[in-house]
Protein backbone atom coordinates (compact mmCIF):
# COMPACT_ATOMS: atom_id res chain seq x y z
CA UNK A 1 0.00 0.00 0.00
CA UNK A 2 1.37 3.40 -0.94
CA UNK A 3 1.42 6.35 1.45
CA UNK A 4 -1.26 8.20 -0.52
CA UNK A 5 -3.58 5.17 -0.40
CA UNK A 6 -3.09 4.95 3.37
CA UNK A 7 -3.80 8.67 3.77
CA UNK A 8 -6.99 8.35 1.69
CA UNK A 9 -8.20 5.40 3.77
CA UNK A 10 -7.47 7.28 6.99
CA UNK A 11 -9.44 10.25 5.65
CA UNK A 12 -12.37 7.93 4.90
CA UNK A 13 -12.12 6.62 8.47
CA UNK A 14 -12.27 10.20 9.76
CA UNK A 15 -15.41 10.83 7.72
CA UNK A 16 -16.88 7.64 9.16
CA UNK A 17 -16.23 8.71 12.74
CA UNK A 18 -17.67 12.15 12.01
CA UNK A 19 -20.78 10.56 10.48
CA UNK A 20 -21.39 8.35 13.52
CA UNK A 21 -20.99 11.27 15.93
CA UNK A 22 -23.22 13.48 13.77
CA UNK A 23 -25.92 10.80 13.81
CA UNK A 24 -25.67 10.47 17.60
CA UNK A 25 -25.92 14.21 18.17
CA UNK A 26 -28.75 14.51 15.62
CA UNK A 27 -30.68 11.84 17.52
CA UNK A 28 -30.08 13.79 20.72
CA UNK A 29 -30.86 17.29 19.48
CA UNK A 30 -33.52 16.65 16.82
CA UNK A 31 -35.30 13.57 18.17
CA UNK A 32 -34.77 14.31 21.86
CA UNK A 33 -33.08 10.96 22.63
CA UNK A 34 -30.94 11.93 25.63
CA UNK A 35 -27.82 9.79 26.25
CA UNK A 36 -26.99 8.17 29.58
CA UNK A 37 -23.59 8.97 31.21
CA UNK A 38 -21.91 5.90 29.74
CA UNK A 39 -23.31 6.71 26.29
CA UNK A 40 -21.78 10.18 26.60
CA UNK A 41 -18.47 8.58 27.51
CA UNK A 42 -18.76 6.31 24.48
CA UNK A 43 -19.06 9.43 22.31
CA UNK A 44 -15.83 10.74 23.84
CA UNK A 45 -14.13 7.43 22.99
CA UNK A 46 -15.45 7.69 19.41
CA UNK A 47 -13.94 11.15 19.13
CA UNK A 48 -10.68 9.77 20.51
CA UNK A 49 -10.76 7.12 17.76
CA UNK A 50 -10.25 9.97 15.30
CA UNK A 51 -6.86 10.99 16.73
CA UNK A 52 -5.06 8.01 15.15
CA UNK A 53 -6.19 8.79 11.58
CA UNK A 54 -5.47 12.51 12.12
CA UNK A 55 -1.88 11.69 13.11
CA UNK A 56 -1.59 9.29 10.15
CA UNK A 57 -2.66 12.01 7.73
CA UNK A 58 -0.43 14.65 9.29
CA UNK A 59 2.75 12.66 10.03
CA UNK A 60 2.39 9.57 7.86
CA UNK A 61 1.10 6.11 8.75
CA UNK A 62 2.80 4.57 11.79
CA UNK A 63 1.84 1.58 13.96
CA UNK A 64 1.85 3.78 17.06
CA UNK A 65 -0.93 5.93 15.58
CA UNK A 66 -3.08 2.86 14.96
CA UNK A 67 -2.32 1.75 18.54
CA UNK A 68 -3.87 4.99 19.84
CA UNK A 69 -7.11 4.23 18.00
CA UNK A 70 -7.03 0.66 19.34
CA UNK A 71 -6.66 1.95 22.92
CA UNK A 72 -9.62 4.29 22.45
CA UNK A 73 -11.67 1.47 20.90
CA UNK A 74 -10.93 -0.90 23.78
CA UNK A 75 -11.91 1.73 26.34
CA UNK A 76 -15.03 2.56 24.35
CA UNK A 77 -16.02 -1.09 24.20
CA UNK A 78 -15.68 -1.29 27.97
Amino acid sequence: MTRSQAVILNAVALYGVALVLAAAFAAQLVLGELPCPLCLLQRVQFAMLAVGPILNIRFGPRPSHYALSLLAAVLGAG
Binding site: V44, A47, M48, F59, L68
Partner: protein, 52 residues
Protein backbone atom coordinates in the same frame (compact mmCIF):
# COMPACT_ATOMS: atom_id res chain seq x y z
CA UNK B 1 -19.46 18.89 34.02
CA UNK B 2 -16.74 16.27 33.67
CA UNK B 3 -18.17 15.20 30.29
CA UNK B 4 -17.95 18.76 28.98
CA UNK B 5 -14.32 18.84 30.11
CA UNK B 6 -13.65 15.52 28.34
CA UNK B 7 -15.23 16.76 25.10
CA UNK B 8 -13.20 19.99 25.28
CA UNK B 9 -10.10 17.94 26.04
CA UNK B 10 -10.53 15.71 23.03
CA UNK B 11 -11.16 18.79 20.87
CA UNK B 12 -7.81 20.17 22.05
CA UNK B 13 -6.11 16.83 21.36
CA UNK B 14 -7.50 16.73 17.81
CA UNK B 15 -6.41 20.32 17.22
CA UNK B 16 -2.90 19.64 18.50
CA UNK B 17 -2.72 16.44 16.39
CA UNK B 18 -3.65 18.42 13.28
CA UNK B 19 -1.64 21.64 13.83
CA UNK B 20 0.83 21.00 16.65
CA UNK B 21 3.61 18.61 17.56
CA UNK B 22 3.26 14.83 17.57
CA UNK B 23 4.74 14.39 21.06
CA UNK B 24 2.34 16.88 22.61
CA UNK B 25 -0.63 15.22 20.86
CA UNK B 26 0.39 11.80 22.18
CA UNK B 27 0.87 13.15 25.71
CA UNK B 28 -2.49 14.93 25.75
CA UNK B 29 -4.18 11.84 24.25
CA UNK B 30 -2.89 9.67 27.09
CA UNK B 31 -4.03 12.26 29.64
CA UNK B 32 -7.56 12.36 28.20
CA UNK B 33 -7.60 8.55 28.02
CA UNK B 34 -6.77 8.32 31.72
CA UNK B 35 -9.40 10.96 32.54
CA UNK B 36 -11.97 8.98 30.50
CA UNK B 37 -11.12 5.77 32.35
CA UNK B 38 -11.45 7.59 35.69
CA UNK B 39 -14.85 9.00 34.66
CA UNK B 40 -15.95 5.52 33.58
CA UNK B 41 -14.95 4.00 36.92
CA UNK B 42 -16.70 6.84 38.76
CA UNK B 43 -20.00 6.33 36.89
CA UNK B 44 -19.81 2.55 36.45
CA UNK B 45 -22.12 1.80 39.38
CA UNK B 46 -24.67 4.55 38.67
CA UNK B 47 -28.32 3.50 38.77
CA UNK B 48 -29.82 3.75 35.29
CA UNK B 49 -33.37 5.09 35.23
CA UNK B 50 -35.22 2.75 32.94
CA UNK B 51 -38.64 3.39 31.44
CA UNK B 52 -39.90 -0.19 31.73
Amino acid sequence: MEFSALFLGIMVVMGVAWWGSRTLALTLFIAVLIASAATYVHHATDVLKLSF
